[in-house]
């Protein structure tokens, strides 16, 4: 009993030490408690090492013990997993429906309903062309943008975010950014990323809308400086041409382009043309 008490005290001291050290080092409270719980688990393990021997069980007593033990394991695993942060499927449900668009499973050999998709693409293409013509005509939509470090000249106009039709296009672009989860690898406006892919705030200062679209369509077409390994390994998935329509890619490219120069302090690596 004395040994067990000693171990409990040691466990508390270690747990407390970890808690305060973590606090002093700037860990958020959730980590302080996590470290404390690791010490608690360690204490339980060391208490179990000294637990007195148990006589082998048999008969109905053994059967009952096994059943109780199963119950404990079931509750332990089920409840343990439930205590961890849970992903909300509602976040995904709407997203998936949008990604899959209006296509419904008809012929399994043509799951995307190619005819409907082509028709929709044509309509969107016409809309994009119409928008581009209107933007050119307006002229004021072309904002002069900074070109740091010998950047390629901007050859395409940036649609005015305030305009109704331009706004639609930008809205579609932003929606695609969310739906395709580009933020998992790329940082934009200070959100997302984690250095898996280049920050994209100023991509519009280097590439035209058409070039950005080309990069989305064929990830091997451009390589960002400093991301040689990622480019060689083909880290950017080569699937967007299959899951996005041409218009959706244009919308995303236009939306990305619209941020050019808005935050010049962000360093977007220079893209190098590869194809």
């Amino acid at each position: 009993m004395g040994k067990a008490m000693f171990k409990l005290v040691i466990g508390l001291v270690v747990g407390g030490g970890l808690w305060f050290t973590a606090k002093a080092m700037g860990f958020p409270p959730v980590y302080q408690w996590a470290f404390f719980s690791y010490a608690a688990v360690g204490t339980v393990v060391f208490l179990l090492l000294d637990i007195p021997s148990m006589k082998p069980q048999s008969g109905w007593g053994a059967a009952l013990s096994v059943l109780l033990f199963f119950g404990l394991l079931c509750v332990g695993y089920g409840a343990g997993a439930s205590l961890l942060p849970q992903f909300d499927p509602e976040d995904e449900k709407g997203k998936n429906a949008k990604v899959l668009g209006s296509a419904k499973s008809g012929n399994p050999l043509d799951p995307w309903k190619a005819d409907e998709v082509i028709q929709r693409t044509k309509e969107l293409d016409e809309k994009v062309k119409e928008l581009e013509a209107r933007i050119k005509a307006l002229g004021s939509g072309s904002a002069p943008v900074a070109q740091p470090g010998g950047a390629a000249p901007v050859t395409a106009s940036v649609p005015a975010p305030g305009g109704a039709s331009g706004g639609d296009l930008l809205k579609v672009g932003e929606e695609q950014w969310q739906l395709q989860e580009c933020y998992n690898c790329h940082k934009l406006r200070g959100d997302g990323g984690k250095k898996r892919g280049p920050e994209l705030d100023n991509i519009g200062t280097y590439l035209t809308i058409e070039e950005i679209k080309q990069k989305i369509f064929d990830p091997k077409s451009f390589m960002a400086e400093g991301f040689e390994k990622e480019w060689e390994k083909g880290r950017m998935p080569d699937k967007f041409k299959d899951v996005m329509s041409d218009s959706e890619m244009i919308a995303l490219a236009t939306w990305l382009h619209s941020f050019a120069g808005k935050n010049p302090s962000v360093i977007t690596p220079k893209p190098i043309k590869k194809k």
């Binding site: 013990s65 695993y77 998936n96």
Partner: protein, 566 residues
């Protein structure tokens, strides 16, 4: 039993036969499973079939190894264990076939269009190769079981050869079905052309030998051996509790030891073969990596860390309890370098892997000499420590390593919902990265390996009193079996969910309302339910196969006689 099997088969055919007729009608709606929904219905049947399949593929490897060891060592216990496990395998073999059929029928009923398309893609596998291999495997298993007593003594080698043939057939069966399974995650693709065009140009072999096929084969072979071993441990625990005399207790104590030893040997490789599979998938499409490690499935991996950590603690605790029945264990000592390296392992491994991440070989050039240091340099260093001291440090390092593994980048289910007060401080964010996690896994494996080497040394140097094992150890064996089944269910769910809203990734979308990532909580309770059902089935099989032998008493003429004892 035969009537029961026939009745279940009949019911399955009645229920699913109608569904399969439905499936042939173009545009016909799929059935709606009440209570569970279609996805969970497929999940339950598929997981149950996979668990049974894992056992019937893993057990023969285990059985032949045991039979061969018994033959080599002239130890009758190995032979008896092998035969008892084969008896249970025979029962579970037929259940695997039944659930396999049920799986296809449920798929046809719930996802008729996709299933028809999928079967068409692998027509030769589903209609010819897989059934043929299964039939040949069944014939080999029955022949193996029924020739056990006839092919003893000088004919034992012939019987072992038959067991090897059975294993080859089982492996071929698994390789064949892993083709379509892995294809759903990583179908053929070609740069510059659409997935459908790539598929149209692909041969059957291209579809089977897809990017994740071989890593999955390796992971499953290793996993099935571990799984088979843990289930043998479970059987031994049941029988140990039901033993009527000391002789039986001694035998089932030994059986638990042998099953656990083989399981742990295979389990030590599991994290690495699993990593190879994950690495290959990330290489195929990097968005898999995000989905697994930082997005929707990140907490599934947190749970995996907890479960695997518990398994490592469990198998080390079994050794600790086992030492209590070894006389003379106090005299067993080990070089002081072993615990020193155990303590050094996590920081060195994390530094090495962070600096030289895979596939740079330099990290191995650091880790391999470090791991071998106690064995090579230990003999030149005079200091030694007792077995209990080494093991206590081992336990400490297992807890520390698992704590490192468990420390997430942030306590949020997705990066999108990550608030600043939920994530690691920037200077400590290496704790949440893959090199750190792999370093922690290496440390867990190293500490456990040292403990098991020490256990072997204690068995050789001391006197082991079979049957006198601590009663708690039998619960540890049950815990290990339960946890390994649960972990398998969890990782199986992860692999399947990786396809996101596709039946076959990037090729055939899933338009149903259930096409979303479920919560970890929902998945965990479902996996727990499946594990319980599997446990009930195995328990019934153990009771049916082994209990009557206990009641009647073992007949001497049925006992196997290895060569040289005649």
């Amino acid at each position: 039993m035969r009537h029961l099997v026939t009745f279940v088969a009949f019911l399955a055919l009645c229920v699913t036969g109608a569904a399969s007729v439905y499936a042939q009608t173009p545009g016909s709606p799929s059935v709606e499973f009440p209570y569970t929904g279609n996805r969970a219905a497929v999940w339950i049947v598929a997981q149950f079939h996979t668990l049974l399949g894992a056992f019937i593929l893993g057990a023969p490897i285990f059985v032949v190894m045991a039979e061969w060891l018994g033959y080599r060592k002239q130890d009758l216990r190995y032979d008896r264990m092998a035969k008892e496990v084969t008896k249970i395998t025979v029962i579970l073999f037929s259940l695997t076939a039944l659930t396999g059929g049920l799986f296809i029928f449920v798929l046809l009923a719930t996802y008729p269009q996709f299933t028809t398309w999928f079967i068409n893609q692998f027509y030769l596998v589903f209609a010819v190769i897989y059934p043929l291999m299964f039939i040949l495997g069944t014939m080999a298993l029955y022949a193996y079981f029924y020739t056990w007593d006839a092919w003893k003594g000088e004919k034992k080698g012939r019987h072992i050869a038959l067991g090897v043939l059975l294993n080859l057939l089982c492996l071929a069966t698994m390789f064949a079905i892993n083709g379509p399974t892995s294809f759903m995650n990583t179908p053929v693709k070609e740069e510059g052309i659409s997935p459908m065009e790539a598929l149209a140009a692909a041969t059957l072999w291209d579809k089977i030998a897809n990017a994740s096929w071989m890593p999955m084969n390796i992971h499953r072979i290793d996993g099935n051996i571990a799984f088979g071993g843990f289930v043998v441990g479970l059987i031994a625990a049941y029988m140990h509790m039901g033993a009527k005399n000391q002789e039986e207790r001694a035998y089932y104590d030994w059986m638990g030891f042998a099953g656990n030893l083989i399981a742990v040997g295979a389990m030590l490789l599991q994290p690495f073969t699993g990593l190879l599979l994950a690495y290959q998938m990330c290489d195929y499409d990097f968005s898999f990596c995000q989905y697994m490690m930082v997005e929707q499935l990140s907490m599934f991996f947190e749970m995996q860390g907890a479960v695997v950590g518990l398994m490592f603690l469990g198998c080390n605790y079994y050794v600790w309890l086992s030492l209590r029945r070894i006389q003379g264990v106090e005299q067993v000592r080990m070089t002081v370098l072993a615990p020193i390296v155990m303590v050094l392992f996590p920081p060195v491994a994390i530094w090495g892997l962070t600096t030289y991440w895979i596939p740079e070989p330099m990290s191995l050039a650091i880790l391999i000499p470090l791991a071998l240091a106690p064995f090579i340099l230990g003999r030149f260093i005079p200091g030694t420590v007792s077995v209990h001291t080494v093991m206590k440090i081992g336990f400490l390092m297992v807890v520390v390593s698992d704590a490192i593994w468990l420390t997430p980048n942030g306590f949020a289910a997705t990066e999108a919902r990550m608030l600043d007060d939920l994530k690691l401080p920037e200077s400590w964010d290496f704790l949440g990265k893959m090199p750190t996690k792999l370093g922690a896994i290496f440390s867990l494996v190293f500490a456990t390996t040292i403990n098991y080497i020490l256990y072997g040394k204690a068995i050789r140097q001391g006197t082991i009193a079979w049957g006198k094992i601590d009663g708690i150890s039998q619960f540890v064996l049950i815990f290990l079996a339960f946890t390994s089944i649960w972990a398998m269910g969890l990782m199986g769910a992860v692999r399947s969910l990786l396809r996101k809203f596709f039946h076959t990734y990037n090729l055939i979308p899933d338009f149903t309302a259930e096409s979303f990532t479920p919560t970890l909580s929902y998945s965990a309770w479902l996996i727990t339910g499946i594990t319980v059902v599997f446990f009930i089935v195995v328990s019934v099989a153990v009771f049916v196969a082994l209990r009557p032998v206990e009641l009647k008493g073992r007949e001497p003429e049925g006992s196997p006689v290895p060569a040289g004892t005649k």
